[in-house]
């Protein structure tokens, strides 16, 4: 390999990227857009569920119950209802997803018999949200129950007995807030890198064939390897810049906790960038049309990366065959690595399996790309 020729290719390619609005848009705008869209749009947490309150009793106790619901982060009050008809209308119109119904003799029944029920009506067209809202409501009611018990005993002068129920104290590690954003945003970074990387390089060789510049280029002493590394160099730099942007946004804008080492992050990111750039380049060498190459690159990265990288859809819930296919998706390894580096602060050694998998992937792709290029018109 001749460094001078390699640099000549890299310089020429840089000028071309700089002057090609399409490449620039992919390189600069796509990460920005996707980061905003996916970072904000995709969140598995449900907060501030719209709640209608139908307090039939309106006593001190019932208002206290309402307050427990509305002062939590999980529900927000959107309307106060007066009649059953209102309740029906509110649910039909979709004004709220949950409605809290407090029966008319709630406090009396409770004090007399020691028990009564609250009703929560849920719009379960979105079952996921409804399930989660049920969970929140149960949590609030359980707390209410416990507090009432304590008060009851205190108020009746009975000695408070020892802890009568078993209290489950769970502690969550790594993502203490169980904040799904911390889990998703690193995955988003992987998706963006995969998309942008393979899109950019998918155009690079096919453009030369399409514009007729390849014929003259292959009549010079430039070798396939010089061409490949020369062309990959500027895209590698762009890919790393995009990665810095995305990872920076994840850490400083979305406040995903970063506990690993920067070195590990950069090294693994560079490795992943090499893999996705290599995939795009391989397609570009194989398919002599820009449109065809970029379409296939999109197809090969978009779906497998979103579905099979484990970025939102848990892989261990999938059928065996699909899980097996996911081993072929390079983003799978990178998503694992990113989460480990960000949330667990893992070292390269801890992540030996995904890192080695990416290494093998990079080696195979680059070798295939190098072999696929023929310095000939045949």
């Amino acid at each position: 390999m001749n460094l001078r020729r390699l640099l000549a290719i890299a310089y020429k390619e840089t000028l071309q990227i700089w002057r090609d609005p399409r490449s620039l848009a992919i390189a600069l705008l796509m990460p920005l857009m996707q980061m905003g869209l996916l970072g904000y749009g995709v969140s598995l947490d449900i907060k501030r569920v719209p709640l209608c309150v139908y307090d039939q009793e309106n006593s001190q106790l019932s208002r206290g119950v309402v307050n427990r619901f509305t002062s939590s982060d999980w529900f927000r009050q959107v309307a106060v209802l007066q009649t059953d008809r209102d309740l029906r209308a509110a649910m039909d119109h979709g004004d709220c997803i949950a409605a809290l119904v407090i029966p008319v003799n709630f406090s009396r029944t409770l004090y007399m018999t020691g028990q009564d029920s609250l009703q929560v009506v849920l719009d379960a067209t979105d079952t996921n949200t409804a399930n989660i809202a049920t969970g929140y409501a149960q949590g609030i009611v359980a707390q209410l129950d416990a507090d009432l018990n304590a008060n009851w005993q205190g108020a009746h002068g009975e000695t408070v007995r020892g802890v009568g129920t078993v209290d489950l104290a769970s502690r969550v590690w790594f993502n203490e807030g169980l904040d799904s954003r911390n889990f998703i945003v690193p995955g988003v970074v992987a998706i963006i890198l995969a998309l942008v990387g393979s899109q950019l390089t998918s155009l690079t060789v096919s453009r030369e064939w399409e514009r007729g510049t390849m014929e003259q280029l292959i009549s010079t002493p430039v070798t396939g390897l010089e061409l490949m590394f020369g062309k990959l160099t500027p895209y590698f730099v762009i890919g790393l810049l995009d990665a810095v942007f995305c990872l920076g946004t994840a850490a400083f804008w979305f406040h995903v906790p970063f506990r690993g080492s920067l070195f590990t992050l950069v090294l693994t990111t560079a490795l992943f960038a090499l893999v996705v750039l290599g995939i795009g380049y391989l397609l570009s060498v194989r398919i002599h049309s820009q449109l065809g190459a970029s379409q296939i690159a999109l197809m090969l990265t978009m779906l497998p990366t979103t579905m099979l990288s484990g970025y939102t859809f848990p892989l261990d819930q999938m059928p065996q065959a699909v899980q097996a296919i996911s081993w072929l998706v390079p983003a799978r390894y990178y998503v694992t690595i990113l989460r480990s580096v960000f949330l667990k602060g893992s070292s390269l050694w801890d992540m030996a399996v995904p890192v080695i998998a990416l290494l093998i992937y990079a080696a195979v792709i680059i070798r295939a790309a190098a072999r696929a290029f023929r310095k000939s018109l045949d």
């Binding site: 000549a8 310089y11 020429k12 510049t213 014929e215 003259q216 292959i218 002493p221 310095k375 045949d378």
Partner: protein, 312 residues
């Protein structure tokens, strides 16, 4: 450089190349001496471009041997590429790069030293009349200037063999003259030039010509000798309706061929003594004509006579 003139710079032996069932190049042998301007002449589809590509090492022949400046192109195409320059028929430079950037790119690929590049680029651009356009994007150049830029890029590393595929197609006459000016000065410095052309006036400027037709070389000689070798003599018949003249005379005894040339018909006959006979035949048929004169054949006439190809 491979020594004194007279040495063979490009040799092809029994080169063949098929595309499917079509034999694009069907057994061509050539020998071009150092310092020659060698022309490949023939209609579209004669196999000129395919042959050029094989000589340039960008397309592999099915059979045959190609030796370029002492290097076996098939065995070691990369070594050959360092010595040659190839300019494809379709503009092969980067339209989104400026004139200077294209030159720089090709100079770097061929490892031209910085100083040498600067002086040589300045000389070549000057000779091509392109010095004022150095910063212009190649895509914004006229057709003629694009071809001249192609030549400048091809020459930046001083090749020993220059392969030009229809370099002046679509180029205005002034640019063509400048183009040929550069080619002549190259020949003086010992560069071997092999070009293909569809222009007959350009063919006459070559030191030797190969007349190509349907993948084969029919004849190969200097333009003058090719003309001499043409069987028969040539008459030019001017007429208000050249088609009527051709219709009246193409089957006359002794006429070997008739070629429409605008306001006249070029008639090839077996002897100069046929002139009165032909005039009489036109009178007899009542076809108006201006003059029947014996003329020097052009390359086009020779081409038609030797290949037997029909002409428009």
């Amino acid at each position: 450089m491979s020594g004194a003139g007279g040495q063979v710079a490009v040799a092809a032996r029994e080169v063949r190349r098929h595309f499917g069932a079509l034999a694009a190049v069907d057994g061509i042998s050539l020998s071009v001496k150092q310092g020659e301007i060698f022309g490949l002449v023939g209609p579209d589809g004669a196999g000129k471009t395919t042959l050029m590509r094989m000589l340039a090492g960008v397309l592999r022949p099915d059979e045959g041997e190609i030796v370029l400046d002492g290097v076996d192109v098939l065995a070691d195409p990369e070594a050959a590429k360092a010595r040659l320059s190839y300019m494809p028929q379709r503009f092969g430079l980067y339209e989104d790069l400026s004139v200077d950037e294209n030159i720089f790119f090709y100079a770097e690929l061929f490892g031209v030293e910085r100083k040498a590049r600067k002086t040589r680029a300045a000389e070549l651009l000057d000779a091509a009349g392109m010095t004022p356009f150095r910063r212009r994007l190649a895509g914004q150049l006229s057709g003629g200037m694009k071809q001249k830029l192609g030549l400048v890029c091809a020459l930046i590393h001083t090749p020993t063999v220059l392969l030009l595929d229809e370099p002046t197609t679509g180029v205005d006459p002034v640019s063509r003259r400048e183009f040929w000016g550069i080619l002549y000065s190259l020949r003086e410095s010992g560069v071997t030039i092999l070009l293909s052309t569809a222009y007959m006036d350009e063919a006459e400027r070559c030191s030797r010509l190969a007349l190509m037709h349907e993948g084969r070389v029919h004849d190969c000689d200097t333009p003058a000798r090719l003309k001499q070798a043409m069987p028969g003599v040539l008459f030019a018949v001017t007429a208000p309706d050249p088609r009527a003249v051709r219709a009246a005379l193409q089957d006359a005894p002794g006429v070997l061929g008739a070629l429409l040339m605008g306001d006249r018909v070029n008639l090839r006959a077996d002897s100069a003594a046929r002139a009165p006979e032909l005039a009489a035949r036109l009178h007899e048929r009542g076809v108006a004509y201006g003059d029947i004169a014996q003329v020097e054949p052009g390359i086009e006439d020779v081409f038609v006579a030797l290949t037997g190809a029909g002409a428009a």
